[in-house]
């Protein structure tokens, strides 16, 4: 089973929403990740047949289905909003696609409904109507409805985005592994790097209606090929610092470190540092030290986000383990191990070096 998007372009009201999408999805799950307005929903709606592309083709199993209406296709769709049939019970909601599918044996409907409901943990809610359910239960119903009938293409458009934190964690754990062996193509879109990394499925990074990169989520996390990919896959957001290449070294805000792989003296670069790689204690020899002033400490319990103001008025966020108390206004020194600095070309945003690769192992 494959799904191919071939030269797909979508323009709406004169704006390009998707451009030059050429992707081939194998059976099993693929994660689509991208920030807001990256084109995730548009891509999914095109793949489902809900939105005709301005140009390009949608090919399922070698067959061009672009002109085929959505109801004749073998697809299922889960929306970010909890969309169920308000007038039907949970049971009837899940049974609906089964009853409509001519190929599905009528006598199996009841068994299948109960099976998926059990799988989604809503087995005891079958008699209720969607309005009587919590958000998490509503979305479980919507997912159960999508899972009930075996389909060629299953699309889940940020299904967890509208849930609150706890429910999201729970449902994410339930979904992990559910689609791995799926015979059909499963597309799962999200804006949350944690989801993409948890699912560990092949991942496509979207941005501004284009494919930024495709590959393995963990690889991309470790070696983000571009600044955009790094930013998309970093939560909390990546710290960005300006730098200049000089004689095999990179200078940044008064400090410098060796970067043997980077060519071109005088070249401007952007350094990306994940907040958890910033510390305020000396970590080891060769660390970069930035004098700073403490502005704000956000304590979440397990971690503390320390907002630091660098001499050039630039902010740097450090993610420190545990609950730590700081006094705003006091001086501090931010320590960064050059081994954990990504160096991007300022002009093109391409990765020039993970210092890690050159310096040694990383975690």
């Amino acid at each position: 089973m494959t799904l191919i998007l071939d030269g797909v372009r979508v323009r709406q009201r004169g704006e390009p929403w998707l451009d030059g999408i050429d992707l081939e999805f194998p059976s099993g799950m693929t994660t689509l990740i991208g920030p807001l307005a990256a084109g995730k929903t548009t891509l999914m709606r095109v793949a489902a047949g809900l939105l005709p592309p301005t140009a390009g083709r949608v090919v399922v199993n070698g067959k061009d289905v672009t002109p085929v209406s959505v109801r004749k296709r073998s697809v299922a769709f889960v929306y970010q909003q909890f969309i169920n049939y308000p007038s039907l019970t949970v049971y009837e909601n899940i049974a609906s696609p089964l009853r409509l599918a001519r190929s599905f044996p009528k006598e199996d409907v009841d068994r299948r409904v109960r099976e998926v409901a059990e799988l989604m943990g809503i087995g005891d809610l079958l008699g209720r109507r969607p309005a009587e359910l919590s958000g998490g239960q509503q979305q479980r119903t919507a997912i159960a409805r999508a899972l009930a009938r075996p389909v060629d293409v299953l699309l889940l458009d940020e299904p967890l985005a509208n849930l609150d934190y706890k429910l999201r964690e729970q449902l994410r754990a339930d979904l992990k592994g559910m689609f791995a062996g799926s015979p059909g193509v499963v597309l799962y879109s999200t804006a949350d790097p944690a989801e993409a990394l948890t699912f560990a499925a092949p991942t496509v990074v979207l941005g501004e209606g284009r494919v930024r990169h495709a590959g393995d989520a963990a690889d991309m996390y470790d070696r983000p090929p571009t600044l955009a990919v790094a930013a998309t896959l970093s939560d909390p957001p990546l710290n960005l610092l300006p730098g200049v290449v000089r004689d095999g070294r990179i200078e940044c805000l008064g400090v410098s470190f060796p970067a043997p792989g980077v060519q071109g003296s005088g070249r401007r670069v952007v350094l990306g540092v994940r907040p958890h790689q910033v510390s305020i204690e000396r970590t080891g020899p060769g660390g970069l030290e930035f004098p700073a002033e403490i502005r704000l400490a956000e304590v979440t319990g397990s971690t503390t986000f320390l907002h630091l103001l660098l001499p050039d008025r630039r902010h740097l966020v450090a993610q420190l383990p545990g609950t730590r108390l700081f006094t705003p206004g006091e001086p501090a020194v931010a320590h960064v191990d050059p081994a954990h600095v990504f160096v991007f070309d300022e002009a093109g945003g391409n990765l020039l070096a993970t210092s890690a690769a050159e310096v040694g192992p990383h975690g």
Partner: protein, 286 residues
């Protein structure tokens, strides 16, 4: 708005509360009295109605006036006419407006804006000014004394309101719900019938109630369009000419008024809770 009650009210506050409730009771009594008096008179025997000192309620309730009203010449014919015209006009308006409301709420097309403006404008159509031309048109098309013409007019009077209200209800149903049904394999029509239609129930009720009241009550057009054939008259005309029927028999007249008002009151009070909001929303919108 929440009522703000507080422990240990001061006497002044309590006095204010009593005054307020008394005033409210007075308003209630004044408002309700005419309707109550209609019921009371309808059940009073003639002697009580004729009495110099009216009694507040019927001491010896009787159904004789209802018998007189129902037995009056043509009552059942008029009743049937009213029901037929009202039902036909309401159903027609619902069917036609569902189509339009769907087009307006769910589709993008050139001319949609002007169409909405026209519907809003039609909602305020000066129907009273159209009595003469309607009469002439009906005469020219040989539709005088025909219930079909009357149905058509009532249909058109209720149509704009029905379109506006149903469109509001339709727009409140997320398009994704309909899409989900398409994804499940429904046709567009089936998606509408299975998923959207049940959600329109309150809107359909509100609009049919409005249409029902309008058509059931309508007096001017039936006076103008039904001229010769008395068998085509409807209840409002019959009731307004009760003097010809009952003379000064007020018991029978009030019984007739009761029989005329009852269907509307029953339907209205029955549906009021579910429809009230819709009626007000619709009214607010136009």
């Amino acid at each position: 708005m929440r009522t703000r009650t507080r422990p240990g009210r001061r006497p002044a506050v309590r006095a204010g509360r009593i005054a307020l409730n008394t005033a409210a009771a007075a308003v209630l009594a004044v408002m309700i009295f005419p309707v109550y008096w209609m019921f009371a008179t309808a059940f009073k025997p003639a002697a009580e109605i004729q009495s110099e000192t009216p009694s507040l309620w019927p001491a010896h309730p009787t159904l004789e006036h209802f018998a007189a009203a129902v037995g009056a010449d043509g009552f059942w014919t008029f009743w049937r006419n009213s029901l037929a015209v009202t039902a036909a006009a309401v159903l027609l308006a619902l069917a036609v407006s569902l189509l339009s409301a769907f087009a307006v709420a769910r589709m993008r097309w050139r001319g949609r804006g002007p169409f909405i403006v026209m519907v809003f404008a039609a909602q305020m159509a000066p129907w009273e000014a159209l009595l003469v031309p309607m009469f002439i048109i009906a005469r020219d098309t040989e539709l005088l004394d025909s219930l079909a013409m009357l149905t058509g007019v009532y249909f058109m009077i209720t149509l704009p309101f029905t379109i506006v209200t149903l469109r509001g209800f339709l727009a409140a149903v997320p398009a994704e719900v309909e899409e989900a049904a398409l994804v499940d394999g429904c046709t567009r029509l089936a998606a509408f019938r299975r998923v959207v239609f049940p959600l329109l129930a309150p809107g359909l009720m509100a609009t049919s109630l409005f249409g029902f009241i309008t058509a059931w009550n309508e007096f001017a057009f039936v006076n103008v369009l039904i001229i010769k054939d008395q068998g085509k008259r409807t209840l409002p005309v019959w009731l307004s000419s009760f003097r010809d029927v009952f003379g000064t028999d007020w018991g029978a007249t009030m019984a007739a008024a009761t029989l005329f008002a009852l269907p509307v009151l029953v339907v209205f009070l029955f549906l009021q809770r579910r429809v009230g909001a819709g009626m007000i929303a619709g009214a607010v919108k136009g």
